[in-house]
Amino acid sequence: CPSPQAIVWDEYLTGPFGLIAQYSLLKEHEVEKMFTLKPGRLPQADVKNIIFFVRPKLELMDIITDNVLREDRGRSPQRDFHILFVPRRSLLCEQWLKEQGVLGSFIHREQYSLDLIPFDGDLLSMESDGAFKECYLESDQTSLYHAAKGLMTLQALYGTIPQIFGKGDCARHVANMMIRMKREFPGSQNSIFPVFDTLLLLDRNVDLLTPLATQLTYEGLIDEIYGIQNTYVKLPPEKFAPKKQGEGGKDLPTEPKKLQLNSAEELYAEIRDKNFNAVGSVLSKKAKIISAAFEERHHAKTVGEIKQFVSQLPHMQAARSSLANHTSIAELIKDITTSEDFFDNLTVEQEFMSGIDTDKVNNYIEDCIAQKHPLIKILRLVCLQSVCNSGLKQKVLDHYKREILQTYGYEHVLTLNNLEKAGLLKPQASSRNNYPTIRKTLRLWMDDVNEQNPNDISYVYSGYAPLSVRLAQLLARPGWRSIEEVLKMLPGPHFEERQQLPTGLQKKRQHGENRVTLVFFLGGVTYAEIAALRFLSQMEDGGTEYVIATTKLINGTSWIKSLMEKLEPAPF
């Protein structure tokens, strides 16, 4: 539009958009103002056009309706409204707007297909909050449709992926849709040399266990404790002392400290995927190196030497401030991981995962309920126990349910039902517990885990090797044929599809050249799983490198939360 404009943002979108566009860029395109979407009258702004950037959600449509209806008709010049749906234009929403009588107020209604957002050099996410819930509770496969579309886009850019493997119902659906889309656009055969050799589609419900366990990598723990949102984390400010001298007298900051976390930061790239127990020694080593580097200034005698030193200064300073930040974060985390409760919780998790006492009521869980620990923590543990026992004995399940309802309120019966529907919490169907077989065959529990200098992916959970990543690992070598039996025990079909490439594009692999596999987690992936895949990428004789895509970055807490029934806030 030629004239100045204002954007009204659905707040949820600002995070992902912040990753791909900068304000300066928007400004070049005459975006004068930006507001967050909220009910009431729109703020004053001397612009001709108002553009709503929103997800297609009905509750947001209500807010927009309110905004539009309150717009002062008499004002001049009149402002024009436009609406941009992300990622899809929704007929349902438009219908809704029509019923409210405001649809006509919008001059343009368009969509902006933001399917896969790059989060890091090897990580893409759709940031679709409800994907798991929609797929497994509501049987709404829209997010799978977007996933398939995203994959088609990716193939248009990086070449057709010759091999597709998958496990799970949703994986099957996505593969079907991709094949169908390809058939419907025969012209889509592109002439790009394929970057990816293999696509692996994995359903989250094939591995319900992994997200429930507490992640023990550095990044995983930051996420577990503080929650990483669109690569940003907000931390309590106390440990981040004022930056400069002379500000020492100032009061401690009260605003949370906000940091961006990605591999652009060298130190973070090095430690993010390590087991937290291995982080301290790296930090102390780095401190010594940097400290020595700064010391060198005393030895710089000649102008040349001084010049050399000065030229390194910016880098050294960046490294120093990065080190300071991560030392503070590590301290914050250490306070938590050394607490008694963290230890007890972890002990119980590890007992369940290694198959100890999964068939009876657990004392620690009971104690936590009695002390009214957060409900989500309880649910994580109970679900973990259920998954590790292929379902709980009816008596045990009933006991937990009763305790939870009596302590946290009967209305949570709805949440418990959701968890049952998703398969996270269930009565044992037969007397047979498959988990021990799965655990042994896939070597999910490793007793001799090396946290400092790992030789197996199980380091990310200090003993437990994430099932999902094990499947990826075994697919690369020796192949899934070796684990047919176990694959049959896990839910959903497993399959292989091939996409023909024109002869000219077929890869002739150089000796020692790695294969590249794109692993797509349908329903969410945790940072610990990402760490495990990166670990496999780095293995010297691994032979496979991984790029990761997902519908959403999750941890046990955010995941369980997405399955909980939205309850009215407590009356006070």
């Binding site: 912040g18 902006y112 049987s139 850019l157 102390s284 309802l405």
Partner: protein
């Protein structure tokens, strides 16, 4: 920060693999502290870090869009490459990704993105902003011929669905016969796009008789799920329940109806609603929970009315000393029990608000009851009540201390409520496991218990060592001395 990028890469590259070969085995915490000290000591030298650059802040008229402006500022100031790239961002879309990290994995998307002319998301964002009239922002694959035709009213069901998937408006009205409508629905389902499926369902819902719609959906599970989801979203409770009933999904009907109570603010109405829910076809297990939910709210209403009155009248001592912080309405059962143990502990079992009555009505397990009562009485520092809670008399009249939760838990709870040592040690003494007992006694300075335990263990060394933990010239010291002398 990125000025020395090249150097930086080399520098870090060389040190990259050392990460796996550390030798320090020191205690982690002290290591962290030391690291921090080292880092802090370096602070004096630099004076950059000034992130405030000239980038203009967005003026929000009081309502800042936090994250995007913030991230804009951050990325802009930390990466020159992206700033430079801005001007040419349209022809060289990958520039924005140059700001994207160098990878842990040697494979990185940033390298993948390089050299591509058309970076879809970037391109389209700028398009979207420069010209909202541009029809298609999405990175579309090549479109079929049909797409270029002008508006036509003669789309096949398949084309209609495909158009809708592209976000184009289509009139569905021309699908008149049931046959046509169902073909349309099946096409939509085959496309897996929930948006389109829902749109078609809305159309069918409007134009088909209910029985026919239900009947046809029964054999189309995917579409059925979407309709159920849609009805839930839009709160069309009545139609939803009809549908679920038609499908014989009685439990879902029950839960779905029960969910409604959350929208009822008025407690009396909510209570009546819950009462009506009891008869619904829940699973046996859930039925008893719903029944309890109703009974609990009924109780709470009675208790609330009477207590509010008591509190206002100012006659009751307990309410004056400990004014209620909130109403008890809609609180969970255990919270209610705590409340009743706090304010109504001594009441006879006959009253609705007495703890024993609650315990009986809701079949609260002993363990749960004792824990809650203990916490409540300890909070009031009513140590006699605490004592009575664990005292049982056998038929000969001997008293005995018993706890269904283990005395170490009792000690913890008492300690949290800052019980005096005299009270505490009485329960520490009852902890059966010797090691736990010693630990607790030492932790909470119950000297007598420690001393007696060592005496019983005949552990002279520990006992002697413990002497330095008690005060000089105190009764405890004397006690230790006398034990040491007597053996």
């Amino acid at each position: 920060m990125s000025r020395a990028r090249a150097d930086e890469e080399e520098y870090w590259h060389s040190s990259k693999f050392r990460a796996f070969t550390f030798d320090d085995e020191d205690d982690e915490l002290s290591q962290l502290k030391e690291t921090k000290r080292t880092v802090n000591s370096l602070r004096g030298i630099d004076d950059d870090d000034d992130d405030d650059d000239d980038l203009e802040r967005v003026s929000w008229s009081g309502e800042p869009v936090g994250s995007i402006s913030w991230s804009i500022k951050e990325t802009a100031s930390s990466s020159t490459s992206s700033v430079e790239g801005r001007d040419s961002s349209l022809q060289k879309g990958s520039s924005s990704y140059a700001a994207f990290p160098k990878q842990v994995s040697s494979y990185s998307l940033s390298s993948l993105f390089k050299g591509r002319n058309k970076l879809p998301s970037f391109q389209s964002l700028s398009d979207a902003l420069s010209d909202t009239g541009v029809k298609n922002y999405a990175p579309e694959l090549r479109r079929p011929k049909a797409e270029y035709k002008d508006y036509s009213s003669d789309w096949s069901p398949k084309d209609t669905v495909r158009r809708m998937q592209r976000g184009k408006v289509c009139s569905l009205e021309r699908f008149r016969s049931l046959q046509d409508k169902l073909v349309l629905l099946d096409e939509a389902v085959a496309g897996h796009d929930g948006n389109v499926i829902t749109a078609v369902l809305i159309f069918l819902k409007r134009t088909l008789r209910r029985e026919i719609l239900f009947r046809e959906l029964e054999v189309r599970q995917v579409a059925l799920c979407h309709l159920i989801h849609f009805l839930k979203e839009t709160d069309e409770q009545k139609l939803l329940l009809d549908l679920l009933r038609f499908l014989d999904r009685s439990e879902e009907v029950a839960l779905s109806q029960y969910r409604e109570h959350l929208n009822i603010q008025d407690v009396e109405k909510r209570k009546e609603f819950l009462k009506a829910c009891i008869g619904l076809p829940f699973s046996a297990e859930d039925t008893s929970h719903i029944q309890d939910h109703y009974t609990l709210l009924e109780r709470q209403i009675i208790i609330e009315a009477s207590d509010r009155h008591l509190e206002k009248a100012g006659q009751s001592e307990i309410f004056q000393r400990y004014p209620r912080k909130a109403s008890i309405l809609n609180m969970p059962l255990v919270t209610t029990l705590f409340y009743s143990c706090f304010y109504h502990y001594t009441e006879a079992e006959g009253t609705f608000s007495s703890p024993t009555n609650l315990k009986k009505t809701f079949k609260i397990p002993d363990k749960q009851y004792v824990l809650t009562a203990l916490a409540a009485r300890a909070k009031l520092r009513a140590w006699d009540d605490v004592d009575a809670l664990f005292t049982t008399k056998n038929w000969l009249g001997y008293t005995k201390k018993k706890a269904p939760i283990g005395f170490h838990r009792v000690v913890e709870i008492l300690q949290r409520n800052s019980a005096p040592v005299q009270v505490l040690q009485e329960y520490v003494r009852l902890v059966e496991d010797v090691e736990t007992r010693l630990n607790l006694a030492t932790k909470y300075k119950c000297h007598d218990v420690v001393i007696e335990t060592y005496r019983d263990l005949k552990d002279r060394i520990q006992l002697t060592a413990y002497k330095c933990k008690v005060e000089r010239g105190s009764a405890e010291e004397e006690k230790i001395n006398s034990i040491l002398n007597n053996t």
